[in-house]
C-alpha cells in the first residue's frame, strides 16, 4: 500500500529482534498459549548471557515436546517425567555446559516427581523450567497435580474434589524445602511486570547454575486457553485472579550464594 512510501529517510535503528536462540519456524502452540512466550524469554536470556553454544536442552513429553527444536540449542527429548535424570546424565559428563530442562506440570509433578526431587536433593547443577498450566495440555485437559480445588477438567467433570484428590501441588515450595536447591522462583507472563520478573528469574537461575550454586528452578503460571475454555485474554485474567491466589508469585528460595550473585550483577 501507499503508506509504505511515507517511511523513507528515517534512520533505521533496530530496537527489537527475534532472539538468536529462538527458532524461526512456526510453533505448534495454540493461539494464546504462553508456552511460546516462555520459550522466547528463555531464548532471550540465553542470548543475553552468550551461552547459546554452551547450553544443552532436555525437552519433556507434553505440549512443549518441540522445545528442543524451538530453542536453537543441542537438545534431547526425555521420556515423560524423566528430564531431570537425562539432564543429570548430560551434566555429569559435561559439567562446564549449561543444562536446562523444560517440563510441564503433569510431566514434573506427577509422573516425574521422583526424578525432580532427587535432582534437587543432590543439588544437581541444572536448571528446571517448570510450566504450570493446571492441567495436562497435550492429552486434552485432564486433571494435573496442580489443578486447582474445584477446577473442572476432563477427568474432574464436577471439579477437583480435594477430599479424594488432595490439594494442588505447590512445586516451587516443595523444591525450595529441599537442601540442594539454590534458587526457586514462581513467575507468570500475564503483563509487562510479570514478564520482566520472569526474565530476571530465568537470568538468575542460569547464572546460579553457571556459578555451580546447586539446583535451580523457575515455575511459570502459564495459560492454556484451549483446555480452560477461555479466550487468550480471559486465560491471562484467570491466572491473575485465580491461580496467583493459590500459587503466590515471587522468589521462594534464594541461597546465600545466589544472593551474593544477585548483588554482584
Amino acid at each position: 500500500m501507499d503508506e509504505q512510501i511515507a517511511v523513507v529517510n528515517v534512520q533505521e535503528q533496530l530496537v527489537y529482534a527475534r532472539p538468536r536462540a529462538l527458532t524461526e519456524e512456526t510453533t505448534n502452540y495454540c493461539p494464546g498459549c504462553t508456552h511460546g512466550l516462555i520459550n522466547k524469554l528463555i531464548a532471550e536470556v540465553i542470548d543475553e548471557l552468550g551461552i547459546q553454544e554452551n547450553t544443552i536442552s532436555v525437552s519433556p513429553v507434553g505440549c512443549s515436546v518441540f522445545f528442543y527444536r524451538y530453542l536453537v540449542l543441542d537438545g534431547v527429548v526425555a521420556p515423560h517425567g524423566r528430564a531431570p535424570a537425562v539432564a543429570i546424565g548430560i551434566k555429569r559428563m559435561l559439567p562446564d555446559r549449561v543444562v536446562i530442562t523444560y517440563q510441564g506440570d503433569g510431566d514434573m509433578a506427577a509422573i516425574g516427581m521422583s526424578e525432580v526431587v532427587w535432582a534437587a536433593m543432590r543439588g544437581e547443577n541444572i536448571t528446571a523450567f517448570f510450566v504450570n498450566n493446571a492441567n495436562y495440555g497435550m492429552t486434552g485437559g485432564q486433571m494435573a497435580p496442580t489443578t486447582l480445588a474445584g477446577q473442572v477438567t476432563t477427568t474432574t467433570p464436577e471439579g477437583r474434589d480435594v477430599e479424594t484428590m488432595g490439594m494442588p501441588t505447590r512445586m516451587a515450595e516443595l523444591i525450595a524445602g529441599l537442601p540442594g536447591s539454590a534458587y526457586v522462583a514462581r513467575c507468570s507472563t500475564y503483563d509487562a511486570r510479570t514478564i520482566r520478573d520472569a526474565r530476571n528469574a530465568i537470568r538468575l537461575a542460569l547464572r546460579a547454575q553457571m556459578a555451580e550454586a546447586g539446583f535451580t528452578m523457575v515455575e511459570f503460571l502459564s495459560a492454556c486457553p484451549t483446555n480452560w475454555g477461555l479466550s487468550p485474554q480471559g486465560a491471562l485474567q484467570w491466572i491473575k485472579d485465580t491461580m496467583v491466589a493459590y500459587y503466590p508469585l515471587g522468589e521462594i528460595k534464594v541461597s546465600e550464594a545466589v544472593q551474593r550473585l544477585k548483588t554482584k550483577r
Binding site: 553454544e53 527429548v77 555446559r97 532427587w118
Partner: protein
C-alpha cells in the same frame, strides 16, 4: 596378564572399566550388587563418573543422557529393575545412541527370589519395551566369557549405536573362577559428530525418539530395522559342539549351556550321538546353525532355567524338521547334569 580368582560381578565391572566405560549409573539389587559396589570405588579412582541413582528408571535415563554426549555409559540390574528400565531402553533404541546394560537374572515373576534364573530371556530378546526394536543380547557361560563379552558389548554398542545387554544368570554373577582380565584400554576417543556437546561452530544436534508425522516415524522405523538387519547378518555367535553326527541336539545358553555340556559328554560316553549348540548371542539368535544341525537330528532338547522361553526361538529355527522337547527349572532351581542326561537317554530310546 595372569589368571586370577574372580567373582563374576566383579569381573564384569572390571572388564567394563578396562573396556573404557565413562559413566556408571545403578541401583542395588541382588544378585548384581557387587557390580554397583565395585564401580562406586573404581570409577572415582579413575576420574570417571559414578552415581547411585534413586531408581532403575532414573538410572537408565541418566545412561541415556550421558550416552547423548557421546560417552560410553552403562547400568546393571536384575529382573525387576530391568522391567523398570524398558521404557528408557525403547527411547535409547530409537535414538541411535550406544548404551550397555548388565542383567544378572534372578527368579521371577514378581519379586520372585534372588536365586539364579534365566527368566528374563523374553524381555531381553524381544525388545521388552514398546515399539519395534531389539537389543543385542550376549549370554556368557563362564566368568572368562563374561569378561570377554562385556568388552564386546561396548564395542558392539559403539559400532551400531545401540543397546547391548550382557545377560548373565545369577550363577555367572556370584560364581568365582580363575579368569584373565584384559589390559586397561587407552581412551582417546573423540566425541562423535552427533553428540550433544553444545552447538559450537556447527548447527545444533538433536536426539529425539519421536516423529510426529506418520511418514517421519515410519522412515525412522525402517532406518532402525535396516540397522538391526545388519546386526542379524554379521553378529550371530554360538558355540557348536559335537553336532556333526548328532541325532539328538541339545540347545542351552549361559550356565545351563555349561551344565548341559557335562550331560552331553556323559551321554557320548554311553554311545549316544548327541551334540550341543550354545547360543552366545541370544539376539541376534543363531537360527541358521540350529536349523542346519536339526536337519539330521531325530530330536531337539532345549534346557533352560525358566519354564520355556528360548524354546520358542529354537522351534522357529528347527521349523518342524524334528520334534522339540523342553526341560526347564524355574524359580531359582538349577538343573543338574544327571537330570539332563536322563532326558537325553530317554529321547535316544524313542524312535
Amino acid at each position: 596378564m595372569a589368571k586370577e580368582l574372580l567373582k563374576g560381578n566383579i569381573a564384569i565391572a572390571e572388564a567394563a572399566l578396562r573396556a573404557g566405560v565413562d559413566a556408571y549409573f545403578g541401583y542395588p539389587i541382588t544378585p548384581q550388587t557387587e557390580l554397583l559396589e565395585h564401580m562406586s570405588r573404581r570409577m572415582p579412582e579413575l576420574g570417571r563418573v559414578f552415581l547411585q541413582a534413586e531408581s532403575e528408571i532414573a538410572a537408565i535415563n541418566m545412561v541415556y543422557g550421558a550416552a547423548c554426549t557421546g560417552a560410553w555409559a552403562m547400568t546393571s540390574s536384575s529382573g525387576p529393575g530391568i522391567s523398570l528400565m524398558q521404557e528408557g531402553l525403547s527411547y535409547i533404541a530409537l535414538s541411535d545412541v550406544p548404551a550397555v546394560v548388565v542383567d544378572i537374572m534372578r527368579g521371577g515373576p514378581g519379586l520372585g527370589n534372588i536365586q539364579p534364573s534365566q527368566a528374563d530371556y523374553n524381555q531381553l530378546t524381544r525388545g521388552g519395551g514398546h515399539g519395534d526394536y531389539r537389543c543385542i543380547v550376549l549370554a556368557p557361560a563362564t566368568v572368562q566369557e563374561a569378561i570377554d563379552l562385556t568388552v564386546l558389548a561396548f564395542d558392539l554398542a559403539d559400532k551400531y549405536r545401540t543397546v547391548a545387554i550382557l545377560a548373565g544368570d545369577g550363577l555367572i554373577g556370584q560364581m568365582m573362577e580363575p579368569a584373565q582380565l584384559p589390559p586397561m584400554r587407552e581412551r582417546s576417543r573423540t566425541r562423535p559428530p552427533w553428540a550433544l556437546t553444545g552447538a559450537r561452530g556447527r548447527p545444533p544436534n538433536s536426539i529425539a525418539a519421536f516423529g510426529l508425522e506418520a511418514e517421519t516415524l515410519e522412515a525412522m522405523n525402517w532406518r532402525l530395522q535396516a540397522k538391526l538387519q545388519r546386526i542379524r547378518q554379521t553378529e550371530v555367535r554360538c558355540e557348536t559342539w559335537l553336532v556333526d553326527d548328532a541325532e539328538i541336539l541339545v540347545v542351552a545358553f549361559g550356565s545351563v549351556g555349561r551344565i548341559a555340556k557335562t550331560a552331553v559328554r556323559e551321554a557320548r560316553a554311553h554311545g549316544i550321538r548327541v551334540g550341543l549348540i550354545r547360543p552366545i548371542t541370544l539376539w541376534p539368535f543363531p537360527y541358521k546353525p540350529i536349523e542346519q544341525a536339526a536337519a539330521h537330528a531325530r530330536a531337539v532338547l532345549v534346557v533352560e532355567m525358566n519354564t520355556g522361553q528360548m524354546v520358542d526361538d529354537v522351534r522357529m529355527a528347527v521349523c518342524g524338521q524334528a520334534p522339540v522337547y523342553f526341560h526347564g527349572r524355574p524359580g531359582g532351581s538349577v538343573p543338574v547334569p544327571e537330570e539332563i542326561l536322563e532326558r537325553i537317554v530317554e529321547l535316544s530310546k524313542e524312535d
